[in-house]
Structures are given as C-alpha cells and as structure tokens.
C-alpha cells in the first residue's frame, strides 16, 4: 500500500512538488500499476484541456476588443508586409509590437519568415526553427537568434526561450516548434543589451510554463541529440 494521495499525484502533474516529494511519488508510482494508471489519466487530462483551449489564444483578436485598446495608441495597419527576420528591427520596436501581437499569422504562403501559421497555431519556421532545433546556448556568439533558457514544461515537453529581432518562447509539439509568445526583441545590433520589457514578459511566460528549473549545457545537448523527444 502507499500513502500517496490524489492531491500528490496531481501536484506532480502540475509541476508543484519539490524534489524530495517528486521522487517519493515517482517511486510509489513505479511500484504500483493502479497508481501509475491514475497518474497517466491525470497527465492525459491536463494535456487534453490545455490542447483544447490552446488554439483560442492563437486566434486573431476581434476588432471590438482591440479597438478598446487602440483609443490612445497609434495603430499600425495589419497588412503591413513583413518579409524577413531582419526587417523586424528596421520597422521599429513599437510598430513591431503591434504587428507581432496581431499580424504574425498573416504572412503569405511563400514567406520564409521566422513564424508561420499551421492548423491555426503559430509555428517557428526558417531560421527560428533551425535555431530552436539545434542551437546550443553555450555556442552562439554571433548568431542572429540567441537561445535563452531550455526547460521542460509542466505536463511534459521541451520549451526554449529565444531573443534576437524577436523574443519569445516556443515549445516542441509533434515535429516542430509551436510559438507560445513573441515580442519585439533586443536585436543583435545593440552593442550592450538593455533590459528590454520583452525580457520581463518572456520571463513571466517561462515562469508560468516551466516545471522545475532550466537544464544546463549538458541537458540541452542531450535534448538536441534526442530530437526533443
């Protein structure tokens, strides 16, 4: 018999257990198939709920909601063409923030920009996908896109934060990277980086997603080698 209750199992799935308790639950689960099945149910439930609602956060925001916030803002037309990674910087960070928030999904089909739409969600493409797939945070001196933190998300799966002309967080889903958040980044032209507002917001997203702590260089390398499975 075991003294692991439902609340402990759920806390494990939610990434809320400290190291000691996590090990304790995992040991108990390893020796108890009924408990293991219950844990699997809770994992599936979390994935199913998160997966069900995730596309809603990727939908374009209706005009009537956006217009409430536009009252004191200068609005950049959404149709503004954005072709290449580099053009985000020249466009200006403020303009980019509006375009990024709303217009990222409107890239045309032949576009080889860093982000595209696939089945209604934002996915990394081109140079961003390449960086997320294979770039190590320890070896990226002059890279246009810098990888920040690499971590496991609550409920399982890899995520990485990135910075460059755009900053944000992407998580590995299926064969690619689903972009969770994207903001104007610090860019690479800046000689010394200022703490941008994107940093704060990207960190908030990392905090909200992350289970435990980010992996170190060895963990990052191992994850690349395994193809983020």
């Amino acid at each position: 018999m075991t003294d692991i209750d439902e609340a402990m199992l759920i806390a494990l799935v939610d990434g809320e257990l400290d190291e000691v308790n996590r090990r304790r639950v995992e040991r108990a689960v390893a020796g108890d198939s009924a408990l293991a099945e219950r844990l699997a149910q809770h994992r599936r439930l979390r994935e199913r709920l998160a997966g069900h609602y995730a596309p809603m956060a990727q939908e374009p925001v209706p005009d009537r909601l956006r217009s409430l916030l536009d009252a004191s803002e200068t609005v950049v037309p959404l149709e503004r063409p954005v072709r290449r990674w580099g053009s985000w910087v020249t466009g200006g960070a403020i303009a980019a923030s509006l375009v990024l928030g709303l217009g990222v999904g409107r890239l045309s089909r032949e576009d080889v920009g860093p982000i595209g739409m696939q089945n209604g969600v934002m996915v990394a493409k081109g140079p961003l996908a390449t960086a997320l797939d294979s770039q190590l945070a320890s070896a990226q001196d002059d890279a246009a896109i810098r990888i920040g933190l690499t971590f496991q998300r609550k409920g399982g799966g890899w995520c990485r934060s990135f910075d460059g002309a755009m900053a944000g967080v992407a998580c590995h889903e299926g064969e690619g990277w689903q972009v969770q958040q994207v903001l104007p980044g610090a860019g690479r032209e800046t000689a010394y980086r200022q703490a941008s507002s994107a940093d704060v917001r990207v960190m908030a997203t990392v905090d909200a997603l992350m289970a435990g702590a980010p992996v170190d260089a060895a963990g990052e390398k191992a994850a690349v080698a395994k193809g983020w499975r």
Binding site: E6, I10, H52, M56, E59, V61, E73, S97
Partner: protein, 162 residues
C-alpha cells in the same frame, strides 16, 4: 511601454480564460470586453512590477461571478413556471449551442464555478498554485482540494475514469 500595449499582449490569453469560464464564445467575448473596460478604468490600482495577467484574470473572474449570480437571481425571479420545461437551459439557443460543444466544453460546463475557475487557471492558463490561489483570493489548501474534486469530476464526465 504603455498599459494598453501590455493589455494587448495578454489579450489572447484573456480571451482564452474567458472562453474556459463561459458557456459560449459570444458570452466569453462580452466578458472579455467588460473586463478590459474595467481594467482600463481601474488602471491606477494596478501596481507596476506585479503581474498584469494575474490582475486581469482576477478582474475577469470577479465580473464572471457577479454575472453568474445576477443570472441566477433573474432566473429565480422571472421564470419559475418554466423551470420544469427547460431544466436549467435558457431555451433553443442553449440547446443548439450545447450540441455543438466538444466533450471538453461539456465537461467543463458541468463543473461548479469554483472548480472550473481553479482548473482553468492552473491547467489551461498554466498558473502556479500560488498565483492561482492569489487570483481567486483563497488559501492554497482550498485551491488544491478544488483541483482534486474538479479533476475527478472531469475524468468521470469525459469517460476516462473506468
């Protein structure tokens, strides 16, 4: 850095939270609009450096609770004779909307509000227990017991409990 721009950045997530609280998408955008209006009006009460998303989740959740209570009162006051016919539904529109829902929507709607909001904040929005308890203004122990009961009910409704 402007308040409106920060709100715009979290708006997609606010819409998602509204959708997980309400019964249909039209309701949920109404809720979202009310929350944005309230947030803009009360902007002086937001403390820079604290999480804007948590602050907005709290505003939205309080509006939703107020709205749900008002609807309950209205239902009791104005439509007692119809209660036997509609058993909790407002009529054809609701029934039709109900048929288009997925299992997940249906299961979420069957939860009591207090369990649904806890589930939405932690499982859908990805808040930590501490953050979610703060948004709801309840102790951690209360939050975890709602999460346990709510998940048990969801597993049962969704037929995975076998």
């Amino acid at each position: 850095m402007s308040f409106e721009r920060d709100l715009l950045a979290i708006l997609p997530r606010l819409r998602r939270f509204a959708a997980s609280l309400s019964r249909d998408r039209a309701d949920s955008d109404d809720l979202c609009q009310a929350a944005l209006e309230r947030g803009l009006k009360a902007r002086d009460q937001w403390q820079p450096g604290t999480r804007l998303d948590s602050w907005m989740y709290r505003i939205m959740r309080n509006l939703w609770i107020d709205e749900a209570r008002a609807r309950q009162r209205a239902a009791k006051t104005f439509a007692p004779e119809e209660a036997g016919l509609t058993v909790g539904h407002a009529g054809d529109r609701d029934v039709e909307a109900h048929m288009m829902l997925s299992d997940v929507d249906r299961a979420m709607q069957a939860l009591p509000d207090e369990q649904r909001e806890a589930i939405a904040l932690v499982l859908v929005e990805g808040l930590s227990y501490k953050e979610a308890a703060a948004v709801l203004g309840i102790p951690m122990g209360t939050l975890t017991s709602r999460l346990v009961r709510g998940r048990g009910a969801l597993l049962e409704y969704m037929g995975e409990a076998a």
